[in-house]
Every structure is written in structure tokens, then in C-alpha cells.
Amino acid sequence: MTSGIRFDAVSVAYGGTTVLDRLDLTVEPGEVIALLGPSGSGKTTALRAVAGFVRPVSGRVLIGDRDVTALPPYRRGIGMVVQQYALFPHLRVEANVAFGLKARKTPKDEIPGRVAEALEMTGMAAYAHRYPRELSGGQQQRVAIARALAIRPKVLLLDEPLSALDAQLRSGMLAELARLHRELPDVSILYVTHDQVEALTLADRIAVMDKARLQDCGTPQDLYRRPRTEFTASFVGNANLLPVTVTADGVAFDGTELNVAPGDATPGAATLCVRPHLVGLGEGPNALRGRIVEVQWRGSTHRLYVEVGGHRVKADVRELRETPLLGSEVTLHFAPEDAVLLAAGVNDDH
């Protein structure tokens, strides 16, 4: 049986409100796809449709070649980890991990080995006899992952698995999840998150969701370097979104001709996306003159907010020896290849 997940025009509605609108998406066998979006974007609904906790009003969900749209959750053969862990409080760690195996009537003599293997994989073997309440948040999350992995699912659903952890634990668990995926190359993973760092780090592809719809889908590099919509540009990484005018002669911002490849952009209003860390201080190509309105020191970098023709441009520059003065005139520049032209929809507040 091939694994993988396919959404085939899946729509979900609650009481007349569409929370997922005709989602088409395929997670290839062994692939990690991050569903990235703000809350209420439909990403968790999509995951719950795969798990079987919500029933689509139309469309099909396939796991492998099997149409599971009408199957109850317990017949779908998935592993799932949720934000609040949901470890059974009345069972010890080992019994929690063995739960899925017993529920699926795995032969009794196989269970201890599989439990030990799953706990080993997540580094929780030493805690097998503890109760969940005796573990820290990070440890509970590892047990939840071990519990999901013990049943050797072909499909693993992760619903904001790291959002209840503090920042330091989160980056540790992120590396851990990446390692687990390398050890389990056949498992397809659907990873729901609102955190772009998690998505960029883990995912083979990112599906950006907003307002119940899939906005964009591509590899992290692709979405980061060549976003197709303003929403993607601002949600995946930071972005300066500048309103520009495309004419037959080229691209102009605030009356200044820019050296930017117009590509296949249609003449008229458009949005130019430039990442703040690709904006340099000083003279260079595409020079923009403006006044500093805010400075933030961020340790290794300075974030400058520069007002250029009524628009705020963000620039992340390597830590400056002297903090620039507010109100001083500066020149910013960016390389032509670092700018991306997007379809219009003026929005320079991100």
C-alpha cells in the first residue's frame, strides 16, 4: 500500500460557515508538508478532516489509495499528536505508548518491544514507569510523539505540537522532529503550525492557508524567495511590500525608476516584495532615500524603519558600531535579483 495523503476538493462547514474551502493538496509518501496560517485559516480543520474528527460537506480525503472520507477515526491508521499532548492521565508512560497497540490488537508478545523502541526513539525510555503528571511539558510531548509512532503509522498528523513549549525547548524539539523524520523516511507528515520558523525548518513543502483557502504551496525556499502573493510574502518570513507602478519602461516606486526585472507583470499597480535582511545601508543599486523613524537593536542586527515617500521600509543590517539617530537621513538599496514583483493589493504595514 502506498501512503501519502490527498485532499480532493475538500470543503468543511459548521452551521453554514465554510471553514475549509475546496482544498486540493497532496502529501507525497515520506513528505513533510506544513500547513501554515493564522488562526482561523482552516489549517487545523484540514488536519482534523484527515483524522476523521470532522466530516467534509464535499470532496474526498484519501490516505494512500484508500478513500477514508466516510471512515471513523479508528479505522484510518494514522498517528496524531496534538498541542495539549492528551496523554491519558490514569496510565503510566509505557501504558500510554502501548495504548494504540493494544487497541489494534497487536500480538501481546510484540507490544513491550514496540513500546521500548518508540520510547527509545524519543529519548523517554527512562521514564516508562512515570505518570504523565510527573513529567515536564517537553517530556509529555515526547511521550505523545512516542505514542503516535508506536503504531508505526504511514501518516503522522502533528497539530501545533510545539506551541505549548517555551522557546528553548521548542528549538530542541524541532531538531528532534527533524531527526525522527530522517529515521522514518516512509512516514508522510502533515504538520499544522502558525510558526513560520517551524514550517521553514521542518517542511519539504509549505502550504500557506488563509481565510479557509489554500493561498500558496511550494518548497520553503521557493515560498521565501519567490512568494506568489502578498499574504505568503508577509506570512513566510518578513517582507517589505512596496506599492509600485509597472509601465512599459519598467518599474517605479514613489516616482523613482527601479532596476527590477518586470518579468510577466502586467502594466499598472503592483507590489514589490523585498526581504528586510536583503536591504542594505548606503549607496547601491535601487537606492531609496529616507528618514529613520525607528531603530531596534536585536543583538546581532539593527532593525531600521526608514520612511521613504510615505512608506515605511524595514532594513535588517548587521549590528552597527553606532546606533543611528532617529530622524537622520539615510540611503537604502537592494539588489535587482532580491526583489519580487507581486500582483497588486497595496499593503505596506507588515
Partner: protein, 271 residues
Amino acid sequence: MLVHSRTGRWTAWAGFAVLFVPLFALPFLVIVAASFSTNWSGAFPSGPTTAHYAAAVRGESLQALTTSLVTAVTASLIALTAGTWAALAGAALGGGGPWGRRAKRVLDALFMLPVAVPSVVVGLAVLVAYSQPPVLLNGTRWIVILAHTVLVTAFAHQSVSAAVVRLDPMYEQAAAGLGARPSYVLLRVKLPLLLPSLNAAAGLCFALSMGELSATMMLYPPDWTPLPVLIFTRTDRGALFTGSALAVVLMAATLLALLAVSRIRTKASYR
């Protein structure tokens, strides 16, 4: 602390004593004192004896105690099963759209009915309903057990319902996601997590059944006389001191059983 000053605290304690002693403590003390006496004509009882207790744990009295215990245990177990079932079914109905929620309200109201209706009415209703074939229970112990079950199921249903509402659905979903069928989820996840409330409900049902009199009076057959009925008939015939000893035995038996139930510690209660 609500009351800060020393005088205020003393006043509060005094107020508590004035209310508690005559309302709660004194009647029980009087019963206990009377159970050890042969005569009470002055301010205090006289003629101390333990003869009433010797009689209370023999013959007819012992039989009445056993009858009460068997009735209470049986009625509580049936009530707990039915009440839990109804509470779980109600929760499932409540999650099923507007019609489901309406059905749940009707179900809840039906199960609350025995609380709203005076128990003497419940007794009469059961008597009228089961005095004719095809289900002729009148004259058997089962009519008493049935009436007790009807009366206490309401409390079981209510206390388990409250716990079911608090039960986080994520446990059920996590279990289903791991491949557990609904029956497996019920046995291995939901019931263990509900165990503390089931315990409490069982204790409540048992205590209520042990003390039930009004419905029982209308129904009890000669060979199935629960202890409260015996206490009533004895004191009614003027045997106040024997009745007092029986009342103390009833209290003690109920308290012991409640204590035993409360000792059942569950892992879930350590959450």
C-alpha cells in the same frame, strides 16, 4: 480570611455554635443518649443499658438491616449503570446539532423527574403500575428495589452528567486516533477518567436509599422490611429507645459504607 479581628472571629464561632448545636448536633446526641437508656422522664435519660443494641443486631432487626443493605446496594448499582449510560448518551446527543441538543434536554428532564416529584407519589405510581399483570411485582422485594432505583437514578445521572461535561473530548479523540473503537475508548479511557465521580455518585445513591422511607412505606411486603420502616413502626408503637438504637445502627452502617466507598482511591483522582 474573611473575618480579621479577634472579636469578629469569636462572634462568628459563637454564631456557628448557636446554629449548629441545636439544629444538627443535639438531635443526634439525643438519639444516641436515648439508645442507651431505659427511661427518660426528667431532663436527662436514666437507666443506662446496652440491651437495645443487643436486640438491634438480632432477629427481625438484623434482617431489616440486611434488607436495607441489599436494597441500597442493588438499587445503587442499577442506578449508577442507568445514570451513567444516560449521561454518556446525553453528552453524545448534545454534540449532534440542534435536534440532538433538544433531545438531550428532554432526556435530562426525564431523569430529573423523580427528584421533582414527591417520593410518596413515586411510590404510589410504582405501586399502581406493577400491581397488575403482565408485570406483577407488588408483594415482592423487587417493587421496593425498583422504587429505590427510580428515586436515586436521578442523582446518579446528575452527578455523572456534570463529570461527563468536564471530561475533555481530546482524550476520546486521541484514543480514537490511535485506533481504539468506541467501546474500547469507553472502557479504557472514559470510565477510568470518570471513576472519581462514579464513586461519589455511588455513595450518594447508597446513602439516599438507606434512608428512604416514604415510598417504601407504600410498597414493602412483609418479608422485605427495610430498617427505616422498622424504626418507624417501632417508635410509632411507643418503643422509642429500641427505635433510637436502630437509628444509630442505620447511621453507623451508612457512614461505614460511605467511608469504604471514599477509600476507593483512583489514579484519575490524583490528576
